[in-house]
Symmetry: C2
Subunit: 426 residues, 2 copies
């Protein structure tokens, strides 16, 4: 195993748990056995013997956490953007996902996905695969090879999907899920399984019952979609008349934070009651601003979530979102929060850059454990950006350099190194 | 002079005046003496002797028109995004613009601007410079060298600006404007002067009077800002109590379309009365969706403008917008139109991709004459994109390839050639 203890010297920025941005110019970031030992203005004597990598003049920041991404949809990102959610699922998402029954297609497509993700600033993801066992195992292996960490879920759906994609019944879906869990049990270490009922409309009560048993038996975290679109919310109310609200439908089966670590994507139309339950249960929100614009869903009330202490991270939601860049998600989140303030709720102050950067790193990172910051003890997930070409004229402060690098999506062109758990992957 | 008659063979997309998108796979686009002769499925005999450039498999589209960009603000794009318009002007825009009194600084900064613009898909711009004569002439020369066509304006402002930027009085501002017009009269051919009163609050009545005389004498087009932000609109009402509405303030001096070709940036808060005047007078709208988000201004009612037959193009509004990419402005325009539909006016259908592509090309191009399409007789402004790397898996239709190239901003990485008036500039 390579040496996972070393020091990076550079211009270092990170957030703390109070969402505050810290910046240290020409400082030392120490990695000890894959974990952060801290940021120091002068290198402490105790670390003087570690290998020193000189990145003076470059930005060193935590890796980005993507709390919601659909791996099989990467192949059609940036297409069909004139449709709303339910039509878009029928015309684009489902037909594409059906192709992953073919392992050769899956191999070609997931390789592109994993390779592009490797070259982005993203270090942790919570990803949806498809219903297919073999393709899902393959995706996990490819992501692991690409050095990405996090969760991948085989999707469960036994209704309200086209025949070629729908699992025939609850028993079949559950059995395949167990088979998948057994297949990856000893296989992947940095990419772990996550239970993934697609969303309430695509799961029968019988399937939800069975998945609940699996969740308990395997102690799995959970990911799904919540209150994304008015049409979808109304449909859920029809399908689950017993549920007091959308999230209550999940909660009845233990998929809403109380019994398992849970992340819910979108959360655009959460009622006060739903927010209260999320707060009580510790549900994470995956805020996907680009997707919520593209599919005409709306703008999630992020300020309200933050005021309640609900934990929020960012999601690219490829291919509802056109780009896998979490840098882009940061500027999108700020931009839509300004429109939310302007048009929906003038009491909801727009997100500051500092806050949105926090969401992209520590906010979402916490879903994966002690991840997303350079606080001592945190996983050493870091990216190094050579941002000097963006700043040929004026001397900028470190926070200004960071803001510009994010707004101009400097991860695409100027990423020079990337570390996950102290392992160099770019 | 180089040969400006030739043929491009490739996959060609363009809009017509009915906003309809036309796509011709493996077709021929003919340039004769710098103007389009048309698109042909088979090359007509009459053009068989022209040089043929083989771009089979690549996208060939009209160049993008940027109807609103501040050249001196390029140096601080992507900074200070947590501020609203009037604070942002005081803290970022004005201090930066003051630097252009120093010709050496201007040379360094404008060179970066012109070079980056050259490598983008933009072929025509309507740009603000600063109040400074020498720097403005220099900008025009650099843009001309970079092969960009369009307009540049020396800014006029004799009040409500910091001392180091404000022109001392109306007479001085007017005299300097005439001096500038004389300086560039025989100098630049593809970059022409445009009268540029910064916005109503920064111009005294006396200055507006004098500029009106200059406009008449020199037969100049006009560019300015209109109804961008509620605070600004209220301020204008205070400063110009005689004006019935913001645009009426311009109209009283002949700066609102009736007497001169005019483009107004933003137009977020136009009243019915203002829209009616714009329609009657033929004012062009420069829609700047990114800037309107970044500065918390809001969303311009583009559907309403289009329904009235008001002419609309897109603007990057660097540095209110963080990017000079008009591809990005296309997807931004679509995204915010969906939020407008969702939150402001459910009768205003979101912009389709086809419509937004039209705005970016022919919609804005018309401000410059017969520009922005491949209709016969139009200026030969074209860009060639090698989009194959974006599509490694599935065979896409030509409209799909175009949509993806725009959403993924393929102009940044995959632009291969660019022509303006039939002259190759990249």
């Amino acid at each position: 195993m390579e040496n996972r203890s070393f020091v990076l010297r550079g211009d270092i920025c990170w957030s703390d748990r109070q969402k505050k941005l810290h910046c240290a110019q020409d400082a030392y970031l120490v990695c000890e056995n894959g974990r952060c030992a801290g940021v120091f203005d002068a290198l402490p004597q105790g670390y003087a013997a570690l290998p020193l990598i000189d990145h003076r003049g470059k930005l060193v920041i935590p890796g980005m956490a993507d709390l919601h991404i659909h791996a099989p949809q990467y192949a059609f990102r940036g297409l069909g953007m004139d449709l709303e959610l339910l039509d878009w699922l029928q015309q684009y998402a489902f037909p594409e996902e059906a192709k992953y029954n073919d392992l050769e297609y899956a191999k070609a497509a997931y390789r592109v996905f994993a390779d592009n993700l490797r070259r982005s600033a993203t270090t942790r993801i919570s990803a949806f695969a498809t219903v297919h066992l073999d393709a899902t195992v393959l995706l996990m292996e490819l992501l692991e090879e690409a050095g990405i960490a996090g969760y991948v879920g085989k999707v469960n759906m036994d209704r309200e999907a086209p025949d070629e994609l729908r699992e025939p019944d609850a028993a079949h879906s559950a059995a395949l899920t167990v088979e998948w869990l057994q297949a990856v049990k000893d296989k992947c270490t940095s990419i772990r399984p996550i239970l993934t009922p697609r969303f309430l409309p695509s799961c029968s009560d019988a399937l939800l019952e069975k998945l609940q048993e699996i969740r308990k038996g395997w102690a799995l975290p959970v990911q799904s979609h919540l209150s994304e679109n008015p049409g979808e919310v109304a449909w859920v109310a029809e399908l689950f008349p017993k549920a007091a609200f959308y999230g209550d439908g999940y909660d009845r089966y233990g998929f809403f934070g109380k019994d398992a670590k849970t992340v819910m994507a979108h959360c655009v139309y959460c009622t006060e009651e739903e927010m209260q339950r999320m707060q009580d249960n510790g549900v994470f929100v995956a805020h996907c601003p680009a997707s919520n614009m593209n599919l005409s869903s709306g703008i999630a009330p992020i300020r309200r979530f933050l005021e309640r202490g609900i934990r929020v991270g960012l999601g690219s939601d490829v291919a509802g979102g056109e780009s896998e860049s979490i840098f882009r998600a940061i500027s999108d989140a700020i931009q839509v929060s300004k429109l939310y303030w302007r048009y929906v709720d003038s009491a909801a102050a727009p997100l500051s850059f500092e806050e949105a950067f926090y969401l992209a790193t520590l906010g979402g990172g916490e879903f994966f454990g002690d991840v997303g910051s350079f606080l001592p003890g945190y996983a050493f997930d870091a990216v190094v950006l050579e941002d000097a070409p963006l700043n040929p004229l004026n001397t900028l402060s470190l926070p200004q350099r960071l803001e510009r690098a994010v707004y101009l999506e400097a991860d695409g062109k100027y990423l020079r190194e990337k570390y996950v758990d102290g392992k160099r992957v770019v």
